[in-house]
Subunit: 386 residues, 2 copies
C-alpha cells in the first residue's frame, strides 16, 4: 500500500429495493451507520453525500447537513456532490481529495437515491436533468431514447448483434442471484432479453437498469493510519474524473465515451498500473450497450469487440476478469446517485475477501467506473488490497 | 504567504440582476471566462460549480459537465457541490481541497444561480429545500418565516430594537452605491427599513435579500506557483465548513449559529489568526438579523451586541472593520448558490487593491462567511495578501 494514498476502512450497503418505504434520510443513515460501525471509528471529520435527484423528486436539498444531523453528528463538515448518475463516483473523488488535502482525516462518503414514490414519468424527466435542458430535453427525447441511439449506432458501426450485447445483463442477473441485497433475483438468458418488452428501439426491458431506492457508503482514512482501524484496509490507488461534451449531438462518434478513456488513462497513471493488472471490475451498465462499451473504452477490449470478452465465461466470477460481481446496475440495482458508491463498496468487499457468496478468488486490484449522463462525466477508481 | 496553501490567481463576477435574461449556463460562463482571463492561465485541471436550485427551478442537474462543455473545456474533471445557500462557500472548500490534495493544480471554482423566470412561490418553495422537507417544509412555514422567528427571539432575548438591526441593510445599501455590479442602487435609511412592507413579522422588505440571477468565479493555484501567474496572488489562509442541527426546532438557542462558531474557530486555527487580525469581512446577511448575528458568532462582538459594532461608522469602508464592502447579500444581491463565491471574489479584489470605488484602505487579511439554511451549514474562508 502506498501510505500517502487514502484507504477504505469501513463499508456499508443496504438492499436496493423497487420500493423501500424509507425516506431519503433513512436510506442514507442505514448505509452510513453500517460503514461507520464496520470501520470502528468514533469521530468523523467530514461527510460527502452523492445524490442526483433529491431536489427534483423530494424537493429536498442540503443533504450534507440533513444527513449529518440525522446521524447525530451535527457540527461535522458536510455537503452534497452531484454529477448526474455519476454522483456516487464524484462524491468518492471529493472524499479522497479531502483526505489527501490533509484538512480531513476520517471521512464518510455515501451515495443515496430514492426513486420510488415518484411516478415513472417524473423519474424519466428527472433523469433528463443529466442532459442539456434547453437544447435537448425540450425536444422530448428521453434518457433511454438517447441510449437507444447509441445502441443502434454501435450495433451498426461494429456489426454487433443484439444477442451479443444481451450477454451483459445475463451476466449481471446471474451474479445478483448470490447477492441478498440485489434488487432483482431472476435468472435470465439472452432470449429473455431479446423477447422482453421494447422500451426504446433497440433497447428492451432487460437491457435497462430499473428504478429503485438505495444507499451505500464507505469510511476513508489516510493510508498511514488505516491499519490502526482494520486488518484489511483497501488502498484507493487512483481516483479520477473526466468529462466529455455534455450532449450526444455534440459528439463526433457516439459509440466512444471519451470521458471513460480520459478517466481511465488518468487512473492508470495515478496507480502506475495497466488494464492487465486489474483482477475484478465494476462498470456502469445502466444499459446493456454501456456495459459492453465500458470494456472497450476503459482499455480491456478493442472497439466493437467488448461483447467477445463476455464469451466463454471470461467475465464470470471464476473467470479471467470478473465483472459486476454483485449484479451491477442492471441487477443489483441503479439508485442513480448511490450506484457509484455501491461499486466502490462492492470492490472493497471483494478485495478484503468479505464478498461472501459473490466472492471472486485471488483479486488484489479492482477498478470501478461510474458514468453521469451520456458518458458526459466518468469517475474511475482503482482499489488495491494491502 | 504560506506556500503550502492554495492561492487565488483570477477573479470574475457578473452583475447581479433581478432578471438577467440569461440562461444558467450563460451566467456561469460569463463569470468563469472573466476569472480565467484574469488569471492568464490556458489550462484548467478541474472545475467545481456551486449551485443550489437548478434541479428544482430549471430541471437541470449535471452542471459540472454542462459548464465544462459550455466553456469549450470538455474533458476537464467537473462536478457540482451543494449546501443550500452556502453552495458557493462549500464549492470554494472543495476547490481548495482539490489543490491541496495535489490531484488538481489549476482549479476553477464558480457559483451560479438563476432565480428569475420562476414565480415567487416557486422560489419560496425552492428555498425551503434547505430545511427538512418531511418534518418542517410540510408545515407550511417559509424560509423567511423561520428567519423571522430567529429575529423575534433575538430581539426579545437581548433587548435589541429593530432600529438597531436595521443598520445592517442601511450599511449594505450604502456600499452597493459604488458597486456597478450590485443588484440594488438605492440609498436607504433606518426609517425606510422600518416602514417597508412587512414580509414575515418582524422582518420587512429591506431586512431581506432579494431574488436575482448571478455568478462569480475564481481560479486557484498551488501557493508555490501562484506568483508565476499574477503579481497579486491572494492566499487562501483557511477554508472551513461546519454544520449544525439542520432544523430550527432542533436547536437549544436559535439566536446562536453554532455552525458559524465552529467554522470560525477552525478557520482561525488553520490560519493561526484571531478576529483581531481581520481587516475586512463579508458576512451572510440574507436577513438583517443574520448579519448582526454573524458579527457575534464569528467572534467580533458579544452576543446581543453585534449591532453596536455598526454604530459610528466602525464597519463602513473607511472604518475599523469594513463589512460587506460591495453591498453584501442585501444590496449586491443574493443569487443563492453564487453568493458565497461573490464574497470570496470581492475579498480577493479588496486584498489585491482592485476593488475600485469599493476599495478599503490597508486591508491585508479578510474573512468571509457563507451560510446554508438556518445556519445549518457555514463555510468560512480567510484570505490574505502576499
Amino acid at each position: 500500500m502506498n501510505l500517502s494514498n487514502a484507504a477504505i476502512i469501513g463499508v456499508g450497503t443496504i438492499p436496493v429495493k423497487s420500493s423501500s418505504g424509507k425516506s431519503l434520510t433513512e436510506l442514507f443513515v442505514q448505509a452510513a451507520k453500517e460503514a461507520i460501525e464496520d470501520s470502528g471509528v468514533s469521530k468523523i471529520d467530514a461527510i460527502y453525500v452523492g445524490n442526483m435527484m433529491s431536489g427534483f423528486l423530494q424537493n429536498q436539498e442540503h443533504l450534507g447537513s440533513l444527513m449529518a444531523s440525522a446521524l447525530g453528528r451535527e457540527g461535522v463538515p458536510a455537503y452534497k456532490v452531484e454529477a448526474a448518475c455519476a454522483s456516487g463516483g464524484v462524491a468518492m473523488n471529493a472524499g479522497v481529495k479531502a483526505v489527501l488535502s490533509g484538512l480531513d482525516r476520517i471521512v464518510l462518503v455515501g451515495g443515496v437515491e430514492k426513486m420510488s414514490e415518484s411516478t415513472t414519468p417524473k423519474v424519466t424527466a428527472g433523469l433528463m436533468m443529466a442532459e442539456d435542458r434547453l437544447k435537448v430535453a425540450t425536444t422530448g427525447v428521453t434518457f433511454v431514447g438517447l441510449n437507444a441511439m447509441i445502441a443502434r449506432e454501435y450495433m451498426h458501426k461494429y456489426n454487433v448483434r443484439h444477442e451479443e450485447i444481451a450477454q451483459f445483463p445475463v451476466l449481471c442477473h446471474g451474479n445478483a442471484l448470490d447477492n441478498p441485497k440485489a434488487q432483482f433475483h431472476k435468472k435470465i438468458n439472452v432470449n429473455d432479453v431479446l423477447q422482453s418488452a421494447l422500451i426504446a428501439d433497440p433497447l428492451r426491458l432487460f437491457d435497462c437498469a430499473g428504478i429503485g431506492d438505495g444507499a451505500a457508503a464507505v469510511v476513508l482514512a489516510p493510508g498511514e493510519e488505516a491499519q490502526k482501524h482494520t486488518d484489511t484496509p483497501i488502498e484507493v490507488a487512483a481516483s479520477s474524473v473526466a468529462t466529455d461534451a455534455l450532449s450526444l449531438y455534440q459528439r463526433k462518434d457516439v459509440t466512444v465515451f471519451e470521458g471513460s478513456r480520459r478517466a481511465a488513462d488518468e487512473a492508470f497513471r495515478q496507480a502506475h498500473l495497466t488494464p492487465g493488472d486489474i483482477n475484478v471490475m465494476e462498470v456502469h451498465d445502466a444499459f446493456s450497450v454501456l456495459g459492453v462499451m465500458a470494456l472497450e473504452d476503459l482499455g480491456f477490449a478493442d472497439k466493437g469487440s467488448g461483447s467477445k470478452l463476455l464469451q466463454d465465461g471470461q467475465c464470470a466470477r471464476d473467470g479471467r476478469l470478473p465483472i459486476n460481481t454483485f449484479g451491477g446496475l442492471k441487477a443489483r440495482g441503479h439508485p442513480v446517485g448511490a450506484s457509484g458508491m455501491y461499486q466502490v463498496a462492492e470492490l472493497a468487499l471483494q478485495l478484503s475477501n468479505r464478498a461472501e457468496k459473490c466472492q471472486v478468488p485471488n483479486a488484489t486490484t479492482g477498478l470501478c467506473q461510474s458514468v453521469g449522463g451520456i458518458g458526459s462525466t466518468v469517475a474511475v477508481h482503482i482499489l488495491r488490497r494491502h
